[in-house]
Symmetry: C2
Subunit: 226 residues, 2 copies
């Protein structure tokens, strides 16, 4: 058994797509809410890329989300009267049905923490909304960089004073697990085949030699003997 | 009501003196366990002082505790066969009786987090042992410095993306609250008059103009309308 499990959050623990769309629909009834949520999310990786490459210093994800919201609203030709309020949609994401119960089981045996690109503030508020029983918040902010940069995984292990092979990265994304495995961590792939909607093509199956593949967090707990 | 409460931990939330003495008694039956625990704790502030003054880079508190253990064992003329094991005494500290219930009440209304000089690893393991239901772990490690340096309080507020006046520092130590108040935070004094044993003289009463003074975390919750 590992001593800690660290988790990707957006997509792996929570359904960002329908949750953000719900908040968009409430605020901007005139747009296609799912399309808006997807377009907003599509700005995520390019915004982090500049920071990973060193072209920009570390900026918390909430700030990037807000910058991206202005860009997406322009593209959709709408005005957001309370952008900070709508930006908080990312703090109100519903967990997949297996997540909270699975985390409780896992937590009885190992430290559990997010290793997300979300900031401490964002992960804290999201955990309160979604009932995610984390022991602490790790991830991008304590590393001052963004996944899949190696240093983010290593900073999370270091913060727990654990060697990487005592820590398991749990994610629905093969790229995330590839980087974690390269950094020496154990890996668990939990497919979320509808994260991007019914037509999702990527990450529907494991593409690497991961330590565990499980359909949901309950099965992960089972496999780890929790 | 404030949006977050951040807590001193050693002394304010947990009874380090009798808890560490219990572990010392188990490992070193030949010494006066209370005297050993007190001597170990007495090395705490001088060890941090060098880091606060910039004479040494940030080192997590667990490492300082381990260095100090060697020094105290020498002073007591004993050999510790498993110093790392005994050092984990600081992860097994019992909460004062009002703490867990009071934190649960407070947490229903505001973010709660430690703002301790303990590291993320130490605070995480201690929270699991003592059942402290933190939303996240703030404090020395995210600031790379030690209280009562102003930057530690401000880094904790910044990590939550809150202005200092929306955050309340809760402590049994007037010096800690003085520094937090100087940094713009609200303050709550919770006396723990036996933290240092029955002969304690310091911090038995508030010596500043704190926002709240309460006998225990339940009364604090009451005062804050939780």
């Amino acid at each position: 058994m590992v001593e800690a499990l660290i988790f990707d959050v957006f997509g792996t623990c929570v359904d960002w797509r329908s949750s953000v769309a719900r908040e968009v629909a409430r605020t901007l009834p005139e747009v296609d809410a799912i399309a808006f949520a997807e377009a907003w999310r599509a700005e995520y990786d390019p915004a982090m890329a500049r920071i990973r490459e060193g072209a920009r210093g570390y900026v918390p994800l909430g700030d990037l989300h807000l910058e991206n919201l202005h860009r997406v609203a322009d593209d959709f030709g709408v005005t957001v009267s309370d952008p900070v309020g709508l930006n908080a949609a990312w703090e109100k994401l519903d967990p997949w049905p297996d997540v909270v119960g699975g985390l409780e089981r896992l937590r009885a045996h190992a430290i559990i923490a997010p290793c997300s690109n979300g900031s401490i503030a964002l992960m804290t508020r999201l955990a309160r909304y979604a009932g995610l029983p984390w022991d602490c918040i790790l991830g991008a902010e304590i590393a001052g960089d963004y996944k899949p940069k190696r240093g983010v995984y290593l900073a999370s292990c270091h913060a727990l004073r654990l060697e990487p092979d005592k820590v398991m990265m749990v994610a629905a994304h093969n790229d995330d697990l590839r980087a974690a495995q390269d950094a020496g961590l154990q890996t668990a792939f939990i497919p979320r085949p509808t994260e991007y909607g019914p037509a999702q093509r990527k990450d529907v199956e494991p593409t690497g030699d991961w330590t565990v593949v499980a359909q949901g967090f309950d099965m992960l707990a089972e496999r780890l003997g929790c």
